[in-house]
């Protein structure tokens, strides 16, 4: 029987129709792309008729390559992924095009055929790891099932292999994790389990749909490291879907940019980021702040308008209504994908001109911050918080009695805010930054400490404050969908604080609202609209309008842009800047995106586990000396520039519980720099660190001597 597969090529030359091998056989003798999507079009059936969600998308993913699809929400990137695994739901269908997996078409087969065809060769990782994990089964059982069900591998051997795989994804204490239930491990660890589960199949293609979006930056960085490592170790092709330009720059080899259901540009990661040739890509690159940009020296260019609804696409080029370079031809003719230079494709009539720099995007002047500077000159302290403590009572586990336990959400925090300045507060989730802001505004009652606002004591909840005081402190919220009351029109919601604080006489309220709407670049026709008729960015602008309507002295912004798409984010940031410039408002700005904070804020407080660990002017925070925690955060932040090189510092473990914070320095359990101290930093476990002053304004909460910290290299460097 063996003779049947002997020397089968002996007498066959190219004339037999078999294509000869390439010139360099070492470059993959079988150079068939793992995935090749050709002119894919997907529609969803709705009661308004078929809605085209994806049109004319083509790309190929080579063996062992990381291909990223980047785009804003609703651009169809997840739909592309779902059509590859035929998971479009009941009302979705592929209407045109092909999806070739290892050269075999996945379109037009039955579910059963597809299952066989794909086998275990495509795996998918979702944004929410709990979607893939069964909460009622132990992790070990779920992992082992992958091996035992189809492969007939014995239980104990399967378990050994699972433990081995968990080690490969750098899971601490894998044998122990195998015995746990999914809810007993942290989000980052859950995502590792899901990745391990996907890899147990040894897939040729791994699709990851926003796998790190729900994670903190430090955890995200570790997961991204893992993805890159596994890609090489297992020779797996990775299709990575994300809206985050920083993440995409870090993980990908090739990038496809999607806009409104179609792909507008695809090229290598360097070309897309450094030499974009589609106006949309160019716009994206110009509207994200890069680490190191600040508001005094640079400007973010938002993309005007909004993404068209798939039901209502413009007739010509889909980007034409928002494009800075639009010409008459763009409105008439929809451009095809064309190859601007080898391996660099763009869907624009003028891609070549943009690439060669013949078409320059409009340059706006850097905003004039003069007025603000004058107002700041007074240097008056608006808010002073000293030794603030906010504890929550933790529910006792005993039925009766038991000692009361407290979650120390904010513990011994002191900050000062000067008039017209912006304070940025950064830290991982659960570090107490929101609680601090809520305590200042009076939504939480402080447990202790001094809170002084323009000479008045504000250490009481908002219900006990006078109207004059309430008027001066307002807040902007994170979630655009929850920030406005869905039952009332935009006008009445902005008008409410005007009426309540009697900021203007009753008959002038409408005029004042219209004036504020103009300031928000929304216009009078928004007056009667309901929130559901607005886009996310517009809702957020109305939320800002409502906060500033009563001309407060201090506006507290809780992640005002983190739920928005990047192009909208820039517009909202610019708006906040304008507001501040016009009204001289003092602002506190919570964010987890360090590039945004660097851009927007004058002073920055870095928080860890309820305490501030570093406080100082923005530029000082981003240069040595760093607090070790700041250093780790900076090395984890994804930077939307493929040239960026970052120091590789990853924190081990997860944030300890605020119920029992570690003794001494709270960061000592995860601190990568503790070993710089004599005897391995024993002092950190015992004594709380001192505040060390680098300059008058810059202070660091650490035992390590400033001189040692000063000697460290900058975390981020850009290689030209």
């Amino acid at each position: 029987m063996h003779e049947s597969h002997i020397q089968d090529n002996a007498q066959m030359g190219p004339s037999d129709g078999w294509i000869p091998l390439g010139k360099d056989p070492l470059q993959q003798p079988r150079d068939v792309p793992v995935l090749s999507v050709e002119r894919l079009a997907v529609s969803y059936e709705t009661r308004y008729g078929d809605v085209p969600a994806v049109r004319d998308v083509s790309f190929t993913v080579q063996r062992g390559e990381a291909y990223s699809i980047v785009g804003e929400s609703g651009c169809g990137k997840s739909t592309v992924a779902f059509s590859i695994v035929s998971f479009l739901g009941r009302n979705g269908k592929i209407v045109d095009g092909h999806v070739l997996f290892q050269g075999r078409d996945l379109v037009g087969h039955s579910e059963e055929e597809l299952r066989k065809l794909r086998g275990d060769r495509i795996s998918m990782v979702y944004q929410d790891p709990m979607q893939a994990l069964n909460p009622s089964l132990r992790i070990g059982e779920q992992l082992a099932e992958v091996l035992t069900v189809h492969r007939g591998i014995g239980q104990s051997e399967a378990e050994d292999r699972c433990i081995h795989m968990l080690e490969q994804v750098h899971m601490p204490d894998p044998a122990n994790v195998m015995r746990r239930y999914p809810h007993q491990i942290s989000g980052g660890q859950q995502q590792r389990v899901v990745i391990a589960m996907a890899l147990l199949n040894d897939p040729a293609l791994l699709i990851m749909d926003e796998p790190t979006t729900a994670l903190d930056v430090t955890v995200e960085a570790a997961v991204l490291d893992l993805v890159a490592e596994l890609q090489h170790k297992f020779d797996t092709a990775i299709m990575y879907i994300s809206h985050n330009l920083g993440v995409v720059a870090r993980v990908s080899d090739q990038v496809g940019v999607m806009y409104a259901g179609t792909m507008v540009e695809r090229a290598s990661v360097n070309d897309v980021y450094l030499r974009p040739s589609h106006p949309y890509t160019l716009g994206l690159m110009r509207c994200v702040p890069r680490l190191g940009m600040d508001k005094a020296a640079s400007y973010l260019y938002p993309i005007r308008g909004r993404v068209p609804s798939p039901r209502n696409l413009p007739p010509g080029c889909i980007f034409e209504p928002r494009c800075d370079f639009a010409r008459p031809v763009c409105r008439q003719k929809s451009p095809e994908m064309c190859e601007v230079e080898p391996e660099h494709w763009a869907r624009c009539h003028f891609a070549a001109e943009i690439l060669s720099g013949k078409l320059e995007p409009p340059q706006d002047a850097v905003p004039d911050l003069q007025a603000l500077a004058e107002r700041r000159a007074s240097d008056e302290t608006v808010l002073r918080v000293a030794r603030a403590k906010t504890y929550y009572e933790a529910p006792s586990k005993q039925l009766i009695g038991g000692e009361k336990q407290y979650v120390k959400a904010v513990d011994d925090v002191s900050v000062e805010m000067k008039r017209g300045h912006t304070l940025g507060i950064v830290g991982e989730s659960g570090c107490g930054k929101s609680t601090l802001v809520k305590t200042i505004i009076g939504l939480e009652s402080p447990t202790g400490g001094e809170f002084e606002f323009m000479g008045m004591d504000i250490s009481m909840p908002v219900s006990k404050r006078s109207l004059d005081l309430i008027k001066e402190l307002q807040m902007v919220f994170q979630n655009p969908d929850a920030t406005l009351n869905p039952s009332f029109s935009v006008g009445s919601q902005i008008g409410r604080p005007l009426r309540r604080f009697k900021a203007v006489p009753a008959h002038q309220v409408r005029d004042e609202v219209v004036r504020i709407l103009d300031l928000m670049r929304l216009g009078e026709n928004y007056y009667n609209r309901l929130p559901r008729q607005l886009s996310g960015g517009e809702k957020q602008r109305v939320g800002i309008a409502r906060a500033i309507a009563g001309r407060p002295e201090l506006v507290l912004c809780d992640e005002p842009v983190s739920a928005l798409d990047v192009s909208v984010q820039a517009a909202v940031l610019n708006l906040l800047l304008e507001v501040q410039q016009e009204m001289g408002t003092t602002m506190a700005f919570i964010a987890h995106d360090l590039s945004v904070v660097r851009f927007f804020c004058d002073t920055i407080a870095v928080m860890y586990l309820g305490q501030i660990v570093e406080f100082g002017p923005a530029e000082a925070i981003y240069a040595p000396p760093y607090h070790p925690y700041t250093e780790a955060l900076l090395s984890a932040v994804p930077i939307p520039d493929p040239r960026a090189a970052q120091k590789h510092i990853r924190l081990s473990g997860s944030v300890p519980s605020a119920l029992h914070p570690p003794s001494g320095c709270r960061f000592h359990t995860r601190c990568p720099r503790r070993l710089l101290l004599p005897d391995g930093g024993q002092i950190c476990t015992v004594e709380p660190p001192p505040w060390q002053r680098n300059t008058d304004e810059h202070r660091i909460f650490c035992h390590i001597p400033l001189d040692t910290l000063r000697q460290m290299d900058a975390v981020v460097t850009i290689q030209e």
């Binding site: 063996h2 597969h5 090529n9 079988r30 050269g103 086998g119 492969r151 040894d202 797996t236």
Partner: protein, 217 residues
């Protein structure tokens, strides 16, 4: 130099229900010579090569034209593949020369790589030849010298020390028993950044060894 480093991971595979016509087209289009056939969980069920896809003319002789068509279109991979128990396979932990030996001894041109019953890759003659090329640093530029030396301990050391005395770098080095001269050993060395003449001058000094071939490539 283990199979795991040189095999093709995630090879293109088929399933037993695949019509033979489709298998043939698939292999044709993508220039495949071997197609592992797998079931659920990528367990190896068989192997299709171009040879197995050739239909025995004897079997067709008794059929008329219409019957041939329906006979051919009804054939699936399952009917013609080399069954799993007859397929010679290897594991990823085997050295590449051992895999080569298996292939030569069984006169076969590919080995599916199996781990715990699951196909994780495939290694073929081409992969082996690629490896030979790499072993001899074919793609790097240098001078390739073939030296015949007695099959005695210490001869290679003489050669290497002569080269290192000149401060040259060795790109590749390999030795086999001389094919035409019993008791002799032939060693091939590839050296970079030198001229042919320098090499001849330096290596012809070695006692008992003889340069039989020098070429720049």
């Amino acid at each position: 130099m283990l199979v795991r480093d040189y095999m093709t991971r995630h090879p293109m595979m088929g399933e037993p229900t695949m019509p033979i016509v489709e298998a043939q087209r698939y292999m044709w289009e993508h220039n495949l010579r071997h197609l592992p056939i797998v079931g659920d969980g990528k367990r190896l069920l068989g192997l299709v090569t171009r040879q197995t896809l050739l239909v025995d003319p004897g079997r067709l002789a008794s059929l008329d034209v219409w019957e041939i068509t329906s006979y051919l279109s009804g054939l699936t991979v399952k009917d013609v593949m080399v069954q799993a128990q007859d397929v010679i396979s290897t594991s990823s932990d085997v050295t590449i020369e051992e895999a080569a030996r298996t292939m030569v001894e069984n006169r076969i041109s590919c080995l599916p790589v199996i781990e715990a019953g699951v196909v994780v890759g495939i290694i073929t003659e081409t992969d082996m030849l690629c490896q030979l090329m790499e072993l001899m640093a074919t793609r790097a530029h240098g001078v390739r010298v073939t030296i015949q030396m007695p099959d005695v301990k210490g001869e290679l050391a003489k050669l290497v020390s002569a080269i290192s005395a000149q401060g040259w770098g060795i790109l590749a080095c390999g030795g086999v028993p001389a094919p035409k001269a019993p008791g002799k050993w032939e060693t091939v060395v590839k050296i970079r950044n030198v001229s042919k003449d320098d090499i001849v001058a330096a290596l012809s000094q070695i006692e008992g060894q003889e340069i039989i071939d020098v070429r720049e490539m």
